[in-house]
């Protein structure tokens, strides 16, 4: 009898455990298949752990939920490093949320892949036409996303250091030429004060490589792909100008101007005086200004012959194609398009407000402000990354090529291989038609 009771108890525990495993553990949005449950919409963002930016998203959601009684938006925040993997996995399982943010260069790929739906935000407080062009995600003449801010590439340096070594401080009217830049690096290296006078974040991986280095490639006259139809990279990514750029990039390493692999926090190294000139993003401007004060020099990109260039497009908001409540999603998107939120975003992230009206309310970005130059960079120098669904593949191939070149690979061979692989990818995918 004792044994039977014990067996019964064991069996009961086993059944209970199995039931708990299959049933009790289901929480969260496990049952949602469309990013919305009735009028409750799910929103994904890449800001987990970044409380400043996340707080703005929370504020918009809170204000929206309080502004009306029909729709309710719920937030799910993901860490940025693998956010794209989460989205791709959710898309394959048809579990995308109604609202999500997307890195600007990925908009064409996600639109082509059927993740995103075109949006109509006409009638919102801020018209799209007021925004910096790089902050609106378009694909095939349809709007799929918009951002509240953009970022700009720039050189940071110390005025005192440049003056000490007789280096001209460039302006937008007269940026450094290639020869001037090379001479400046040679002078700084000769001083013996800097092991590597130039810092360009070579230790960073991911999107930084195409974001930071493809504008220099473009300034040399090359590009990631032939933008006329986006049919081929051969002849453009591995053309004469591109090879010249890659050879120059490699020479920075061989001459000891640039570390093959920079430290884990390049901006900290710059502020500590380890490097003299730092190719970085505007997001560090406020921090650097606070530390260096008037000694901080914000320098435009080098004109390598075809004009100074920077990348364009940062994180933007979009609506998924599988959203079962597109009216609710569009209501949130329209609601968010108020100048005060553009201002909040720019203040929280230290980035460029996407509209002039917002810029006037953000310290440093008002006309004549210490950071307003970034808005001019964005307007005059920004080149969006190739608007093609092939972009994620192009980005990966470019990263590999640049890494190889920095490590000593023959520039022509490395770029040639990348161009060939990109062309194969384009052919395999029928040039992303349809």
């Amino acid at each position: 009898m004792v044994f039977r009771t014990r067996r019964l108890a064991v069996a009961s525990v086993a059944v209970a455990a199995a039931t708990a495993l299959v049933a009790g553990c289901a929480t969260g949005s496990g049952g949602s298949t469309s990013g919305a449950s009735g009028d409750t919409l799910t929103l994904w963002t890449h800001n987990a752990g970044n409380s400043a930016e996340l707080d703005v998203v929370k504020k918009i959601i809170k204000d929206f939920n309080a502004s009306q009684s029909k729709y309710k938006v719920e937030l799910q925040a993901f860490p940025q490093s693998n956010y794209n993997d989460s989205v791709v996995a959710a898309a394959s399982a048809r579990k995308l949320p109604c609202l999500l943010d997307v890195d600007g260069p990925n908009v064409p790929n996600w639109a082509w892949g059927g993740y995103l739906s075109p949006m109509d935000v006409s009638g919102s407080e801020v018209p799209l036409s007021d925004q910096l062009p790089s902050t609106v995600g378009r694909y095939r003449d349809k709007v799929y996303a918009f951002g509240f801010t953009d970022v700009s590439l720039t050189f940071f340096a110390r005025t005192s250091v440049l003056k000490k070594y007789g280096i001209r401080i460039p302006t937008m009217a007269k940026p450094w030429t290639k020869d001037e830049f090379d001479s400046a690096l040679a002078e700084l290296k000769k001083s013996g004060k800097f092991e590597y006078p130039l810092e360009m974040g070579t230790g960073s991986l991911g999107e930084w490589y195409p974001y930071a280095y493809s504008p220099q490639l473009q300034s040399f006259g090359g590009d990631l792909i032939d933008r006329d139809g986006y049919k081929s990279a051969s002849g453009t990514l591995d053309g004469k100008d591109a090879v010249e750029w890659a050879t120059w990039l490699r020479s920075l390493v061989t001459k000891g101007y640039l570390a093959k692999k920079s430290g884990v926090d390049p901006n900290k190294d710059f502020l500590a005086g380890k490097s003299a000139i730092h190719w970085d993003g505007s997001w560090n401007a406020a921090k650097n200004a606070a530390k260096l004060g008037d000694d901080l020099a914000i320098i435009p990109p080098v004109d390598f012959l075809h004009g100074p260039r920077i990348g364009g497009a940062s994180w933007q908001w979009a609506m998924s194609s599988t959203c079962s409540n597109k009216a609710g999603a569009q209501a949130w998107l329209k609601f968010s398009r108020q100048t005060k939120y553009f201002v909040d975003y720019a203040r929280a992230t230290g980035t460029i407000p996407a509209t002039d009206a917002a810029a006037e309310q953000v310290d440093g970005y008002q006309p004549g402000g210490e950071f307003s130059v970034f808005t001019r960079f964005a307007r005059e120098y920004a080149v969006v990354r190739p608007v093609t669904p092939a972009y994620p593949y192009i980005s990966t191939e470019f990263q590999k090529a640049v890494q190889d070149i920095l490590a000593g690979a023959d520039p022509k061979d490395a770029l040639g291989q990348a161009a060939k692989d990109i062309d194969n990818n384009l052919k395999t995918n029928n040039h992303y038609a349809g």
């Binding site: 039931t19 049933a23 049952g31 987990a48 752990g49 860490p79 048809r94 579990k95």
Partner: protein, 290 residues
């Protein structure tokens, strides 16, 4: 004298090796109490490994403000523990059938199981996402139970795909081979069935193998990163490793990263220390080096 010098040399070599493995952990622990500027300032000297300067618990406070660390730790303990318990049960049973029972095709099955070891997880991660999304799910909706489809965003999607493990099956199989089969025959003569032999004889003799499989199952479950990012959307279900990527944002807090890393390393170290003797014995006796 020569023997003494050899002895001394051996000890010195071991001390150097111990330092090579221990210093990164010491650096992590010590840095978790330092402000960011000091961590970078100390990098060029031995101060990086010493608890000197402005030490505080600020990084640990910051960790709990920035990340729901306690929840993540609890989730990982739950996920890893259940994976280990179920893994030991399922894989040892499979290995028992392959090792002790005689049936046609068992060598082929064993070969097929081992062959799966060469397939990297990343290659079938997306198909696996699709597959787990087709599975039926009984879920609680208010006071009702209802059937739905798809395991996304649950605990079990982080557990069940990793219960059956080819390496564990192989490891148990190798260990079971070292137990004399005459014991089975004697038990059968005494009227024992296969399950009794498994439960009462083979498993009690396989303590070191169980300990090793426990560690080797616990580690990847604890370190799981890509899979939870793909299949779990709710923050309250995320494991600890996903938490570390919360810190790699625009303002990277290195002290907080060290504090969080220290927090999530302690359970692993505790587990290893607890099972160290069995782990070493088991690895030595099976000839399997994982």
């Amino acid at each position: 004298m020569t023997s003494f010098l050899k002895h001394l040399g051996g000890h010195a070599g071991r001390v150097v090796l111990a330092l090579v493995f221990a210093l990164p952990l010491v650096f992590m622990l010590v840095s978790s109490f330092k402000p960011d500027d000091q961590i970078f300032g100390d990098l060029g000297s031995w101060r990086a490994f010493l608890p000197v300067g402005a030490l505080s618990l600020d990084n640990y406070t910051g960790v709990f403000e920035r990340v729901p660390a306690a929840r993540f730790l609890l989730n990982s303990v739950l996920i890893s523990s259940i994976t280990v318990v179920l893994g030991i049960l399922v894989n040892s049973m499979a290995a028992f059938a392959l090792s002790r029972m005689r049936w046609p095709g068992r060598k082929l099955v064993l070969t097929a199981v081992i062959a799966t070891l060469i397939v990297p997880f990343e290659t079938f991660a997306l198909p696996l996402v699709w597959w787990v999304n087709q599975l039926p799910l009984l879920r609680v909706n208010g006071f009702h139970l209802e059937w739905t489809t798809g395991w996304m965003d649950t605990y079990q999607v982080q557990i069940l795909p990793f219960v059956a493990n080819a390496f564990s099956v192989f490891f148990f199989h190798q260990y079971f081979q070292s137990i004399p089969k005459e014991i089975d025959e004697a038990a059968i003569v005494d009227g024992a069935g296969w399950f009794t032999i498994y439960r009462r004889i083979v498993m009690p003799l396989s303590g070191p193998a169980v300990a090793t499989v426990a560690i080797l199952t616990f580690l990847p479950a604890w370190n799981s990163y890509l899979w939870p990012l793909m299949v779990v959307q709710s923050e309250e279900l995320r494991p600890v490793m996903v938490g570390i990527s919360y810190f790699f944002q625009l303002n990277v807090g290195w002290g907080q990263i060290m504090a969080y890393s220290s927090l999530i390393t302690v359970p692993i170290l505790a587990l290893f220390v607890a099972f160290q003797r069995s782990f070493v014995n088991s690895i030595a006796s099976t000839g399997v080096k994982g």
